[in-house]
Symmetry: C2
Subunit: 343 residues, 2 copies
Amino acid sequence: MTKWLDNQGPYKDTVVSSRVRMARNIKDFFFPTIKDPAGGEKVIEKVYQSIISANEAMNKDFKMKRMKDLTKIQRLQMVEKHLISPQLAKHHESGAVVYNEQENLIIMVNEEDHIRIQALLPGLQLKKVLESANQIDDVIEERLDYDFDEEFGYLSACPTNTGTGMRASVMLHLPALGMSGQIHGMLQFANKMGLAVRGVYGEGSDFTGNMYQISNQVTLGVSEEEIIEKLQEITMHIIEKERSLRKNLVKEQPMEIEDQTHRSLGILKSARIISLEEGMKLLSNIQLGNSLGIIKNPELGRIHQLITMIQPGSLQAALGKELNLRDLDIQRGTLLREKLTNI
Amino acid sequence: MTKWLDNQGPYKDTVVSSRVRMARNIKDFFFPTIKDPAGGEKVIEKVYQSIISANEAMNKDFKMKRMKDLTKIQRLQMVEKHLISPQLAKHHESGAVVYNEQENLIIMVNEEDHIRIQALLPGLQLKKVLESANQIDDVIEERLDYDFDEEFGYLSACPTNTGTGMRASVMLHLPALGMSGQIHGMLQFANKMGLAVRGVYGEGSDFTGNMYQISNQVTLGVSEEEIIEKLQEITMHIIEKERSLRKNLVKEQPMEIEDQTHRSLGILKSARIISLEEGMKLLSNIQLGNSLGIIKNPELGRIHQLITMIQPGSLQAALGKELNLRDLDIQRGTLLREKLTNI
């Protein structure tokens, strides 16, 4: 369970979550891309101490996990929950993650940079999520010396992160744009406006479940506020388009949408074998049906939880063992049936 | 509702029903294929009187409907319930049908022949169904003069019906043969043995819902008992093959069959729009699931009822108005949901 997903934010009908990520490095240590186990371990200790020594609340709230102490399945589950990046899961010798109980304030240690602060909130809350990330950033900066250049800003292992070192992103659910085929034009538009678009699960180019992550690409020569404002503006534009297409759907094909919603819920409640792709598609359908008021249950937050829970890592972590594709599909069917049986 | 379908007969897992049809003509009247309205009306009266004058029970049990007094929708529904043939529904100026309360003893009047006696029973009961048809045949023959030739037997408007004038048929549900692709070889075998194979609903070559009707083709030079025995023998062979394939399915793909059953029932209980083809396919799936003991409800007889009820004529007759294809699909969804909601 990803606790913060149960809360619902503004524009919940289209925006699943907002995220801000900051890249920071500590003076006098090699970048993590250079092999230095002793240095890497010191960085982990310094970062963790800076958090839990900040105050009693943070001491209680945050915990740390070293990648090397986790199984492959546990790391995969953390990727699916957006706790860590696929890169950190893969290069796990000297990596670690520090995160709070809600799992929405996260510090990845020794990924590409020494420190990657991540803050997440449900719905469209870019300013608030920036504030949250800034608070963590301040806590660490008070205690550690960042690699900072007056001219270039925060230095980073990868030049594209230099400057503010910040990436802001929104995770969007855009079924009507997907169904109408207008999504491609919309993604091209976002690209032209300097934003990157990728899928949320599986490979980056895979938009199963009509889920899209849109983020800024430029971090140098712009302020954090400018990045947020631009992303907010383009997101609002996409939301309006998606909402207008949904209105058309309800007006022109009310019975088809009702059919799609109830049929999808019917399958989710009864099937014994569900592939990841089908599961994502069916959950996307009931997400849309919920947004349109066709069904009230399950609630949006619960559907977002289920999207995470049916991913391969989460399914295997729940059983505590590796599963082949077929057994994953059966386990996915069992989980969905159990979770939706009383709805 | 087709009352007799609620009962279940031998080999109910594969045999929906058995039917015997007899072609008879009355002396001194033109065959119905020759236009003679006054003569046609006399034939109707004679046949109807011969039935209701037989005894008090039959007088109470049987009723008569003239085709011209029925709407196109009502005639279509009667075709779907196997009360009348498509030919009688089409050439409806001088046609009529006499049938009992259970709707399984039927006399079509002025179809291709003056009299077509039909008897139906659930499951594989060819001998019993022949007895039933013979009883009706005897009742009429005591009161009317049949066109009978010592050498050729019963004379008929179409030479292929001359002789016994009898066609026996079984309606089979063969999903495992369908799924395995072995159905084609089986149908070729039946053809080679002198039997005709057609679909049950829609055009004769359309095997939606894995439903097949197998009947004798030759009526001259063989006895009624020989026809029945041969059909019974080949039907038993097909049943054994179907059952053995089902056993394999359960052994090799138990989870897939369970998935297919529950998924199909889930869709039937929740969808808002269901095409005839999809409805037939889903009902075929739960029919198989029921035969294999995966679900107990709905019962087989109820499923067979539903197959009739979702046909276009029955849906329109229930509402008392013509519907376009889209509205038929919506009405079909509504009916299935209502009938299956508590299962």
